[in-house]
């Protein structure tokens, strides 16, 4: 799969293919589900940060981490995990900084996914 190079640097592609047992259709479905869900998840996280609700930050970051990990987006998942654990530890002062690292990363990943999905359709 040539277009997989589009996800290079974001996704451990061989691991992801193993997880879906080589099912390209399922893979496309999962990526679409992720993209569909992402705006609401990010908005939820953003809102929790704005309100300073640590428990809600932990929960939404956990959910994002879970989805990213399922897609083998390891680096981005690790960033979400850092937000989750900072929130759990009550380190509210660290959260904005972590968010500012996470946001561009997830945006870049999502954009790469769009290109990948578009090239896969062609």
């Amino acid at each position: 799969m040539k277009s997989a190079t589009l996800l290079e640097g974001f996704v451990d592609f061989p691991e992801l293919l193993d997880r879906v047992e080589g099912d390209q259709e399922l893979l496309a479905e999962l990526l679409a589900l992720f993209q569909e869900d992402l705006p609401a998840s990010r908005a939820g996280l953003q809102e929790a940060v704005a309100r300073g609700e640590l428990h809600e930050i932990e929960r939404t970051a956990h959910a994002l981490k879970g989805m990213l990990a399922n897609l083998s987006a390891k680096h981005t998942a690790a960033l979400a995990a850092e937000i989750e654990s900072a929130a759990r530890a009550g380190a509210s002062q660290r959260v904005p900084e972590l968010i500012s690292t996470f946001n561009p990363e997830i945006e870049a990943f999502s954009a790469a996914l769009d290109s990948f999905m578009a090239s896969a359709e062609r």
Partner: protein, 313 residues
Amino acid sequence: MKILIADDDTLSLRLLQKTLERAGYEVTAVKNGREAAEEMCRPEGPRLALLDWMMPELDGPAVCREVRKQRGLRHVHLVLITSKDSKQDIIQGLESGADDYLVKPFDPEELKARLRSGLRILQLEDNLLEAREEMRYRATHDSLTSLLNRGTIIELLARELTRARREKSCTTVVLADLDHFKSVNDTYGHPVGDEVLREIGRRLLGSVRSYDFVGRYGGEEFLVVLNNCGASKALSRAEQIRNGIGRTPITTVKGPLPITLSLGVFASLGEDPRAVEDVLCEADSALYQAKAAGRNCSRLASAAIVASADSQY
């Protein structure tokens, strides 16, 4: 095999569902812990579940506790899926009643192998229950004729007498004894005697209704309990049973053998206060009368009491 999966993460739920369906499972997917617990507690619900740890309403460990409480009798195999992998979390999960756990993101091969280990436990339980059922059957049935054994038929008779007393209805007890059975054994050997006893058992069962009871009372004695059968019908029912045996010779390896029965019949009245032992005594003395009258006949016990029997029966 049915399996329940519960995860509030749509992506994860879809991935699990597809992986499990490919592996041949019949998947029920739910998005929160409350629904998961309800599904698992239904009588015909799945016996295998994959539960996400963090879920709205009830989290994975809470689902485990709930299901263990509700479905205490049968084993259900519960696997927690978690991204928590600290020792503390794992202990807490297992203590809540989970049988196993998987760290996500999961590897499909590991997932399937763990489910197979769960299936082995469920299979083991099925085997044990089957064995217990078989033991229960053996403990209540006669091994030669497959009729109820002595202990069980007496117990059922006692229960019927109590019920008849409460409902002011009637119960008829027929004690049947094979005539000259000893000579069958002596002449043709015990295997032929056994053949005869088995066939008698089949014919007795065939000559009663589905809600009557037939048991092997002793060597060549059988006890038949006819529920809701009063004195007016008791003797004719006993005659039917007698003819069911005597009319057609029994086929054996040594050729057809004519076998006859003598029967002692006792019909309890609505408010009969007699205990099961006394009832059996009555039937036994009626049987003795039948034997004394030349065998191959039925005799009704306690004619004086029977005369006042409720005519509706």
